[in-house]
Symmetry: C2
Subunit: 459 residues, 2 copies
């Protein structure tokens, strides 16, 4: 079956492919916010219908949370599972968006044309690269290469509460020979990358309670314990100010140093540390001393504060000592760090630092997932590497990833299936931030890449 | 002129007086929030009309901010100026109010009947004690004792930006022999108190800026500087964790120890330290070591965090490293502390602790005022003490105050006029907090107190 005709078809129909992506992006499928529940269902239906139009036996399946989209096509040949997610991050602070987040548009920039809008990169634009490759293949050949199952989630940005039960209940139809995941970045622009390891994630949130009620700082300013001061002290205690290391006792249990051979590979990925930092306003890496920026990002664990608040935030001034203060935490895990064990250590660290007359409560609904390390010796990695190298005119590389994509670990654990994480995002895509974008080049060459990978895996 | 008839009239018409107060409380005159601008004007008009009905030549005078209400009545006799404020604090967190903040109601409590609602104590309920005393006097005698000027402000809770220019422009009509201010508490329930010193106030607010945009903690968690961590370190650095002292260099310049004789008076004010602390959930005083709760509140300066925020505060989790973090500060000043000098010291403290790749911006619109110490040797203090002692069957006391009422300093500085601060609030009134209340007893005996004081000052 000719690959050239498929690639030509992709080139010829790019405008239509972008129009379809825009249709999906216009649906504000923010999974973490209950206000957008119906929009998540709408996005799932949109995708199920689109897959049906390509000959997939597809449907949006109900869960206690947002629906899963599952579709099957083809019969003979290698069975591949493709995973992506149709939900997106919240858009705040909205005021910092130059264009409305759910009104996608093509924009000319000094670095080429980009698709602007929430989800353009994470993950609607990325998942559509695979679907568009299937569409072109089907249009040219009337069928797809091998057997393909598409599995699209709507809770990736909100902790995937329904994912594990759904995988257990539907293990039979979801288990393929290998999984393909399109939710990652290229290590540097134009350098095709397959992720060999991903950091895990632990989420937690606490409230520090002080006085019974908000107090007036004229009356209690002095004798009164102020939760904002106390929470600041606790947050400040999480890191060693000299070394940048996390100061929670036992935090680094299960962390391993990167083997020198792998480190050397990482040093030859074309990653431009200076540009990576300066593009967002940094001049130096701010993590653990003694580790490069890539190591800090790919192979070292973190304890990050994602939200910190309490007291008066409005216009003007309010002389209040608030009754409580709040802190949202995420940790990135590596190696054999155990999320459940770590959660206890962090909570013990906070408990040990509570002053008299303060107490702490923890949000019990936040989950954790360990780091994932892939079996990169499988022949599919070599085939995908070759296909990517052909498309991008540059040797593809096996890299680490700083982000957490727990699905890769679950595929292995629950379905006994390895995964290849191949994505075309760039580090300046501003995912999770205002003004998210996806390069038109990523979208176009991403579609072409999948067409080549499908061919290579079915050779 | 008979005082007894006035007091009897006050007792007989208490329900009507409360109804009038409720009318004023129903106007949400939150001065710090521009959304309530018209409500502030409405409250000013309400008061001007009410004063007119008592024979005052009264009007709401325009300012660049909220209106001032000025009214004159009487002719011969001692000229007194009465000051209060009709604006109120914001009501957030609204969810913690048991009744709507602007729907006043009488409530039975284990400690007696209270008036519930924003402004019941601070300062609508308090200022109406004086106006109701005038009303009763006028009803009984057809005229007021001496000459009275009423001066009501609408910006006390938002830094009084129009106050100083207005006082300069209207110095002639505002200057009396002595000022009466009703905006303070009794040192303990049933103990009538005249404030001899008040703390000053410095307000400031800063934003700590880190990366150019919000970042994804999977990509930049590790190498990325997190403004929330950095602001927590700075907030934690403001105090010495061992002594509770403010650690800003030179902070205590101009602070004097309280003379032993005054300290002894304070120790005999009936102040119940244990109840003061436990009523709000504390078991120990949390301020500077070596000072009693009263000293910490009345005679020691503070640096308090009133608001601290940044990152994601919504439901669920967001793996963000935010571009900025914010902190609202107020300091309470004592003795000869200079607000302008102190502002520079605090800003220098923050600047010295900024890490590379972070910068700070300061809100430039926030003001400061020094502490105020009254001349308590004037005969009016003795007269007022006697009147209060008669009403409350308990020796009135000269106390300190932890709050900041800059007007007292301005009366001295701009109009050369001493002030007597006499109020009937209680420490559990929850002013500036949800569920603010004013004891019906405070309101009733407050009105009676002013009737007695007016008589005593005109003897």
């Amino acid at each position: 079956m000719s690959l050239d005709a498929v690639l030509a078809r992709i080139d010829d129909t790019l405008p239509e492919a972008m129009e379809r992506l825009f249709g999906l992006m216009r649906i504000p499928s923010i999974s973490t916010d209950p206000a957008y529940r119906e929009d998540c269902a709408k996005a799932a239906d949109w995708l199920a219908k689109d897959l049906e139009s390509l000959g997939f036996d597809a449907s949006a399946r109900k869960t206690p949370g947002h629906p899963m989209v599952v579709g099957h096509a083809g019969g003979a040949g290698k069975h591949l599972l493709f995973y992506g997610h149709y939900d997106v991050q919240p858009v705040d602070p909205l005021s910092q968006w130059k264009t409305p987040p759910f009104e996608p548009a093509i924009e000319d920039t000094p670095n080429g044309k980009v698709i602007r809008g929430r989800g353009s990169s994470d993950d609607k634009g990325q998942l559509m690269t695979f679907i568009e490759a299937c569409r072109a293949w089907k249009a040219v050949h009337g069928t797809l290469p091998g057997k393909i199952t598409v599995f699209l989630e709507g809770e990736e940005e909100s902790g995937s509460p329904s994912l594990i039960p759904f995988m257990h209940e539907n293990a039979g139809e979801l288990t393929a020979e290998i999984a393909l995941i399109c939710d990652t970045s290229m290590v540097s622009p134009g350098v095709p990358s397959i992720a060999g390891q991903l950091r895990g994630m632990l989420k937690d949130e606490f409230t520090l309670h002080g006085p019974k009620i908000d107090l007036h700082s004229g009356h209690y300013g002095g004798p009164g314990l102020n939760p904002l001061r106390e929470i600041a002290k606790i947050v400040a205690s999480f890191h060693d100010p000299e070394t940048g290391r996390v100061a929670v006792e036992g935090f680094y249990d299960g962390v391993h140093e990167v083997p020198p051979a792998l480190l050397e590979q990482w040093n030859n990925t074309g990653f431009d540390e200076k540009d990576y930092l300066t593009s967002v306003g940094y001049t130096v890496p701010h993590g653990e001393q003694g580790y490069s920026t890539l190591e800090q990002q790919w192979s070292r664990p973190t304890l990050e504060i994602n939200g910190l608040w309490g007291g008066y935030q409005g216009a003007g001034s309010k002389t209040v000592i608030p009754a409580e203060a709040h802190c949202k935490i995420t940790c990135r895990l590596v190696g054999d760090m155990d999320p459940d064990d770590l959660r206890e250590k962090i909570r013990a660290h906070v408990a040990a630092r509570l002053p008299v007359d303060a107490r702490v409560t923890w949000d019990s609904d936040l989950e954790g997932s360990p780091a994932a390390v892939m079996n990169t010796d499988r022949p599919e990695f070599a085939a995908a590497k070759r296909a990517l190298s052909d498309e991008w005119d540059r040797e593809a590389v096996i890299v680490g990833m700083g982000g957490s994509i727990p699905i890769a670990g679950f595929f292995k654990e629950i379905l006994g299936m390895d995964a290849m994480l191949i994505g075309f995002a760039n580090d300046d895509d501003a995912i999770h931030s205002p003004n998210e974008k996806y390069d038109v080049k990523s979208f176009h060459k991403g579609i072409r890449s999948w067409a080549r990978i499908l061919a290579a895996l079915n050779e």
